[in-house]
């Protein structure tokens, strides 16, 4: 829509730092309501510099139930700022429109944010960082901080500007065109592959049982390795996934796994 001038940019920058408090005071009643209040604060200060009552009303609306991926605070913050500005300056948007748009976008933005940022980007970066950190190198964790932290900040800033600048057209383009589903699927492809790679390198089923046939000893693990190296890790993963789908709690599975391991170690299989 409009070009962003220096003044807008100043407000958006303040909103950006406010959105850093995304998780502040998280509770089951308002969820991230406080985080969104802090995101909208600078914008509302800009729109109502002297009118504390109107500012308070708008701020209380921002304090309503809110829950999405933390990078998506940018998108919804920028969009809400643009709409509130429209409401104050041109009076052609109602508070109801703003609130219902905000509420209706929380779910989809959370879905795309979580699947792309948390289950794809984070998994990739963590995968690379783990492989470096496994050698004991500090560059693993450093890489994680710089890449994941940095990207979270960059994406949040870009979405804040985009939400403000393109407003509802941007939302239409992404959320109503079916693009969302495609982004989610593409992210899942990446996420799944990285998990697969990490299963290969970090899950370890330590079979040490061996049979003696005359002179030759046959290790049980080598039989499985001949079919496919690491086959047992994959079988373990799919078994656990299946049990979880059947309703077993992760805690139960953890304890079960420990008990089974200790029993198998006692029997000399591990």
């Amino acid at each position: 829509m409009s070009k962003i001038n220096a003044h807008d940019k100043k407000v958006l920058k303040k909103m950006f730092w406010g959105s850093g408090l995304a998780f502040s005071g998280f509770n089951v009643v308002k969820m991230q309501g406080n985080g969104f209040t802090n995101t909208m604060g600078p914008a509302l200060e800009d729109l109502f510099p002297d009118d504390a009552k109107s500012r308070g009303e708008a701020l209380a609306r921002a304090n309503g139930v809110f829950n999405t991926n933390n990078t998506m605070f940018g998108l919804l913050g920028g969009l809400t700022y643009a709409l509130e500005k429209d409401r104050v300056k041109n009076n052609n948007v109602t508070t109801d429109t703003i609130e219902s748009l905000k509420v209706s976008l929380m779910g989809p933005t959370a879905a795309v944010g979580d699947s792309f940022i948390f289950n794809c980007l984070r998994v990739i970066i963590a995968g690379i960082a783990i492989s470096i950190a496994k050698t004991g190198s500090i560059f693993g964790p450093l890489l994680f901080i710089v890449l994941f932290g940095g990207l979270e900040l960059m994406i949040r800033w870009y979405l804040l500007v985009a939400g403000y600048q393109y407003g509802t057209t941007f939302i239409d383009k992404v959320f109503n065109s079916g693009l969302l589903k495609i982004i989610t699927t593409a992210s899942s492809m990446l996420g799944l592959s990285m998990v697969g790679a990490m299963v290969a390198t970090t899950v370890n089923v330590p079979l040490s049982l061996s049979f003696k046939f005359g002179k030759e000893t046959l290790k049980l693990s080598s039989i499985f390795d001949q079919i496919m190296p690491g086959l047992l890790s994959l079988i373990l993963l799919f078994t656990i996934m299946y049990l979880m789908k059947k309703g077993f709690k992760p805690m139960t599975l953890v304890l079960g796994l420990l008990v089974v391991s200790i029993v198998l170690a006692f029997l000399g299989i591990f």
Partner: protein, 268 residues
Amino acid sequence: MEVSIALLATLSYFIGNAIDRCMGWQTFERPIVAGTLTGILLGDPETGILMGASLEAIFMGMSPIGGAIPADPFPTAVICVAYTIATGSKMGVAIGLSIPIGALMQTVKTLWAPVLASMSAYWEKLAKTGNVKKFRRLSILQSVFGDRLPIFFVLFFSIAFGTKGLQSLFAMLPDWVMRGFTAGAGMMTAIGFAILVNMIWDNKIGIFLVFGFVLAKYLKLPALPIAIIVATIAMVYFLVMSNTISNKNETIKTKPNAKNEDEEEDFF
């Protein structure tokens, strides 16, 4: 000795929590960073980094997404690293115990939740006054001190007074228990991954899991090249599909113009 270790470990949790919660990050709360920071403060960065890497894999699927998580990775990483450094025991012991410890930490958080919830009426009243600066100041204080207040104490006391007992308990156990523990720790990673995979699983693209596995196991590719290969495939999928969508939208728009439609069909 234990008290100073407990203080430093709690400090590392405090610092990581403050940074994450003021930057809107989920970075320092991850075991790979939390473990490292704890290791650095306790004077043994290498143990911190190595354990951070293992714990990160175990807790890969455990994120606050979708509300309830079985175990809280952040304080768990701090405790496990502190225990290992304080007692000089094998890393596998603490790692094997990590998820039960994490579940305990998660319970502490759950018990604290009603307190946080009861504050929401106050926050709303504060918002109504329109005092943006005061709201932000108090939010920062809440982030740094309030949100995780009980964890600070639980961390300190469990490390200060729990490590000795745990150590003597493990010293009594026979060898095969320890072997079983270490084996269990190696397989526990699969549980974290299973949670994550169940979240993103889609039958149509399930083969990508095996694809990543094969690239790592057979071709011995490190994580970055695998990410690039799959990113390329995902990019191709994205471009083709988004193209299809925009073509479909175009077709709908230009339907009355029959000539235009023909041209598009020729294109394919």
